[in-house]
C-alpha cells in the first residue's frame, strides 16, 4: 500500500479522499474557497490587485488608529469625570452568523501555484521518473499528429477564456462549488464535463 501511494496510479477512493481533503481543508484553514483559475486572473491583473491590497491595508491601519483614539478619548473622559458613551456591541455582528474571511493576498496564491508545480515534480521524483521531456505526449501526438503543439495552444486559450466566462474551473466549480451544492457550479461543471465528453467522443471517432 505504501509503495502504491508513492509509486504509480492511485485507486479512485484514494484520489477522491485526497482531493476532498484539500478543497475542504483549504476552506477551513483560510475561510476562502480553493479556485485555481481565479488565481490566474488575479496574477494577470497583478498591478490592480496590489493597488487594492495597499488600499485595504491603509484602511485597516486607519481603523486601528480610530479604535485607539476612541479608547484614549474614553479614558480621558473617565479621568475628567464626564459621562462615558456606551460601548458599541462588538459581539453582536459575530453572533449573527458565519463571518466573511478576507481575501488571500496575491503572494499567497503565487506560493500555491508554485507549490502545485513542486508537487508534480515531487511525485515524479519519488517514483523515480524525474526528467524533462521535450517531445509531445505520445497519446496526444497519436490523436493530433503534427498539429499537436498548435492544439495545445488553442485548447489552452479555450480553457483560460471559458473558465473566466463561467467564473471557475475544476477546483472552484467542480470541488468547492459542487461540494456546496451551488446551482451555478453544478450547471457549469455539467457543461464543462459534457463539453469534454462530446468533443472527445467525436475526436475518438474521427481521428483515431
Amino acid at each position: 500500500m505504501s509503495m502504491e501511494i508513492l509509486n504509480g496510479r492511485w485507486p479512485f477512493w484514494l484520489g477522491a479522499l485526497a482531493l476532498a481533503a484539500i478543497a475542504v481543508g483549504y476552506a477551513a484553514a483560510l475561510g476562502r474557497l480553493l479556485g485555481v483559475s481565479g488565481m490566474y486572473e488575479r496574477l494577470i491583473n497583478a498591478k490592480a490587485e496590489l493597488a487594492t491590497e495597499r488600499e485595504e491595508r491603509a484602511f485597516r491601519d486607519r481603523t486601528v488608529l480610530e479604535e485607539a483614539l476612541r479608547r484614549e478619548t474614553i479614558l480621558e473622559m473617565q479621568r475628567a469625570g464626564a459621562p462615558v458613551p456606551p460601548e458599541p456591541a462588538a459581539g453582536a455582528a459575530a453572533a449573527a452568523g458565519p463571518e466573511l474571511a478576507p481575501r488571500v493576498p496575491l503572494w499567497g496564491q503565487l506560493v500555491f501555484l508554485l507549490m502545485m508545480l513542486a508537487g508534480g515534480a515531487l511525485a515524479k521524483a519519488l517514483s523515480g521518473g524525474l526528467g524533462l521531456q521535450a517531445h509531445p505526449d505520445p497519446a496526444h501526438a497519436r490523436l493530433f499528429g503534427g498539429v499537436s503543439p498548435l492544439v495545445l495552444v488553442v485548447g489552452g486559450v479555450l480553457v483560460g477564456f471559458g473558465t473566466r466566462l463561467c467564473g471557475g474551473c475544476t477546483s472552484g466549480h467542480g470541488l468547492s462549488g459542487c461540494g456546496r451544492l451551488q446551482p451555478g457550479s453544478l450547471v457549469a461543471t455539467a457543461c464543462f464535463f459534457g463539453g469534454g465528453v462530446a468533443l472527445s467522443l467525436v475526436l475518438a471517432q474521427v481521428l483515431a
Binding site: 476552506a27 508537487g119 486559450v157 480553457v159 466549480h173
Partner: protein, 158 residues
C-alpha cells in the same frame, strides 16, 4: 510612558491584524502545504496524463470519473460539517455558466489540462505544457479585455 501602556499598544495592534488577515504564517503554511499536496495528488491520480483524461472523457476508463465523483460527494460531506464558521460566495445559474462551461470543456478535451493540471504537467517535466500554459494565460487575459468591453461573464467569480 508606563510599561503597562507600552504593552497595551502592540497587543491591540496584533489583535486587529489577526482578525483582518488571519496571519501571514497561516497563509504561507496553508497555501504551500495544500498546493504541494494538490500537485502531488493530481500527478498520482493521473490527471496530468492526456491519455488518461481522454479515456475519462470517452468513458473507456471509469477510474478518473469515479475519482472526481467521489471527491464531490466527500466535499459535500466536508463542507456541510467543517466550514460552518465561514461565509462563502453563492453561485447562481447565469447564461455564462453554460457558455463558459462548454468552452472550457472543449479546451480541456483538446489540451488535456485544466488550469491546475498544466502546472502539474510542467512539474512532471512535460515541457510541451508550456504551450498550454501560454494559451491559458492568453485566454485569461483575452477574457479580461472582452469583459471590460462588453461586460460578459458571470457576476460571482472565484
Amino acid at each position: 510612558m508606563s510599561a503597562g501602556a507600552m504593552a497595551a499598544v502592540p497587543a491591540a495592534d496584533s489583535g486587529a491584524n489577526r482578525r483582518s488577515i488571519s496571519g501571514w504564517g497561516r497563509i504561507l503554511a496553508a497555501n504551500a502545504g495544500f498546493g504541494l499536496l494538490l500537485g502531488f495528488s493530481l500527478s498520482h491520480i493521473g490527471f496530468g496524463d492526456f491519455g488518461e483524461v481522454h479515456r475519462m472523457f470517452t468513458f473507456a476508463d471509469l477510474r478518473l470519473v469515479l475519482t472526481f465523483g467521489g471527491a464531490v460527494a466527500l466535499c459535500a460531506a466536508g463542507f456541510a460539517t467543517l466550514t460552518r464558521r465561514w461565509q462563502f460566495v453563492r453561485r447562481r445559474i447565469q447564461p455564462a455558466s453554460i457558455a463558459g462551461g462548454v468552452v472550457f470543456g472543449l479546451g480541456w478535451a483538446l489540451a488535456g489540462a485544466c488550469p491546475g493540471i498544466v502546472l502539474v504537467q510542467l512539474g512532471e517535466g512535460q515541457l510541451q505544457a508550456l504551450l498550454t500554459l501560454g494559451g491559458i494565460l492568453g485566454g485569461t487575459w483575452l477574457f479580461g479585455v472582452v469583459q471590460r468591453r462588453w461586460g460578459v461573464g458571470v457576476t460571482e467569480r472565484c
